[in-house]
């Protein structure tokens, strides 16, 4: 790592150290009952215990798989739908109110219905996460696609491109950035919805772990669960950003 990289790393680490210090400070300040705030080192010890004895890794794996599948299926459906809505004005007029109606519904509000129709199995959780990813992704896609400038299409036409070539060689490259943005937004929303989806009588998963812990007032376990969700989301976002940077080297960005 070179000097500049080291400095950037340090700069990124600083707020975390600050947050931990603040955490201790709140605990020691005496304003809050100490039994309500486990100390960072206690949470660290607990997470080690959960990792080695309680199979925290299985919870992480189960939750990550749910989010991954939900987002993958949601975006797989959102890309063509968002594209159609962004590209064909009549399609937008036709479907826009409907999409906005469903988008406005918080996925949590649908849980009782999902239980009724899909039971309490893996499928039910997948449905909730799919719902959350699809509607957040579809909006990003269609806003992005509707902003594609006709200039590039005209250029391709004057060079002799037919409809299929325009789609393959102009529209798809211009759509890729929007797909990646949709993925990032959907990932964020899906993690946020995860706990809700695991409320549906889940045996394992980080949301289930938090739920069970809250029943027995195990605050340190709740903290471990929350930190895990945040960390995994952060790691996924970092990976996606790396992929984005690689795929979109051509983009002129103000901040790299």
């Amino acid at each position: 790592m070179n000097g500049a990289g080291l400095r950037r790393f340090g700069l990124g680490l600083l707020p975390w150290i600050g947050a931990i210090l603040l955490w201790y400070a709140v605990r020691w300040s005496g304003f809050v009952n100490v039994s309500l705030i486990p100390a960072p080192h206690q949470v660290a010890a607990k997470s080690f215990e959960l990792l080695t004895k309680e199979g925290l890794l299985i919870d992480i794996f189960v939750s990550t798989r749910r989010v991954f599948l939900g987002v993958a299926l949601g975006i797989l459906a959102a890309v063509p739908v968002g594209f159609l809505l962004g590209w064909y004005r009549p399609a937008r007029t036709f479907a826009d109110p409907m999409i906005n109606f469903f988008r406005a519904l918080p996925p949590i509000a649908l849980i009782p219905l999902v239980i009724v129709y899909f039971g309490v199995d893996e499928l039910a959780k997948l449905v909730i996460l799919f719902y959350a990813s699809f509607f957040s992704g579809v909006i990003v896609m269609y806003e992005g696609v509707s902003q594609i400038t006709p200039l590039y299409i005209r250029v391709a036409q004057t060079l002799g491109a037919n409809q299929a070539e325009i789609f393959r060689k102009v529209i798809i490259p211009l759509t890729v950035p929007h797909i990646l943005t949709a993925l990032r937004v959907a990932l964020g929303v899906a993690w946020a919805t995860l706990v809700a989806s695991e409320l549906i009588a889940a045996q394992r998963g980080l949301g289930a772990m938090i739920q069970n812990a809250s029943t027995y007032f195990l605050l340190d376990v709740i903290y471990v669960g929350i930190i895990c969700i945040g960390l995994i989301a952060l790691i996924m976002d970092l990976i996606l950003r790396k992929i984005t940077a690689r795929l979109l080297v051509w983009q002129d960005r103000a901040i790299v």
Binding site: L151, Y152, Q157, T158, G160, N162, K169, P173, V249, W250
Partner: protein, 269 residues
């Protein structure tokens, strides 16, 4: 001489909420093989619309726009277009941009031919050092050279240019004009150039079509008396100055007419 493009009593009008808007009115002229036509007129007068009809993006309301004797049905690779906004593809490298047209079914060539054509235009346009760079690393002048190279690569017989150097600084602009003259000398094409610069029109064109304020009608067609190849020295000749003040007068008259047209509108709003 062989007629490449013909405008035959061409008019174009739009229906707007405020009523019918005539953009082009009763325009008739021919562009012959090897001509360099510059269309000049006040901005917003409809000269770009004229080019757009020949490019195939818009259809005349009445009259005919013919290319090689046939009505223009849509855009095609035999009519290359250079846009004012360049339109280089940001997701492709410089070389891939030039090769773009050659990868299409309409202009199929072998990989070896494609490489040869790309290298030729990279060299001609001074872009060889940037072959693998993305357009975001190019200056405005380089982007426009790239757009020209890309249009040339598919070997159009006819080149339509819509204020191609309008966004460039004076120095780059004059370099680009000289480069265009040089390239035309070796590749011999028919050109229709839309411009609002009188000097540019005289320096580059063999014939200048002066159009009126909207709706665009033909005010005057002027033959430019300088033989090709040309260089910047012709700009010092007394004939150049004479022609320039003559055309400037024509354009200024139209500019004033346009301002007079617009004034009541701006007051009423």
């Amino acid at each position: 001489m062989n007629k490449r493009a013909q405008f035959d009593k061409v008019s174009l009008a739009f229906d707007t909420p405020k009523g019918r808007l005539n953009v082009v009115e009763d325009v008739t002229y021919d562009i012959n093989d090897g001509d360099f036509i510059a269309v000049i007129g006040p901005s917003g007068c409809g000269k770009t619309t004229m080019m757009s009809m020949l490019a195939g993006f818009q259809k005349p309301t009445t009259g005919k726009v013919l290319f090689d004797g046939r009505p223009v049905a849509g855009p095609g690779p035999e009519r290359g277009v250079i846009f004012q906004e360049y339109g280089v593809f940001p997701w492709l490298t410089v070389k891939q941009n030039i090769a773009f047209g050659l990868t299409l079914n309409a202009n199929h060539v072998t990989t070896a031919e494609r490489d040869a054509i790309c290298d030729h235009y990279l060299g001609l346009m001074g872009l060889s050092d940037f072959a693998n760079s993305y357009p975001k690393h190019l200056s405005g002048g380089m982007r426009q050279r790239l757009a020209i190279a890309r249009a040339y690569a598919v070997k159009p017989q006819f080149l339509l240019m819509d204020e191609p150097f309008g966004a460039l600084d004076a120095q780059t602009r004059s370099n680009m004009q000289n480069l265009l003259l040089k390239v035309l000398e070796t590749e011999g094409k028919t050109v229709m150039l839309i411009t609002h610069s009188v000097e540019e029109a005289i320096y580059l064109a063999s014939r200048i079509v002066v159009v009126t304020a909207r709706p665009a009608r033909i005010k005057k067609i002027i033959d430019v008396p300088f033989a090709y190849p040309r260089d910047e020295s012709i700009q010092e000749r007394p004939e150049f100055a004479e022609l320039r003040s003559h055309i400037r007068q024509l354009v200024m008259d139209e500019y004033r007419a346009q301002q007079a047209q617009m004034r009541p509108v701006s007051f009423s709003e």
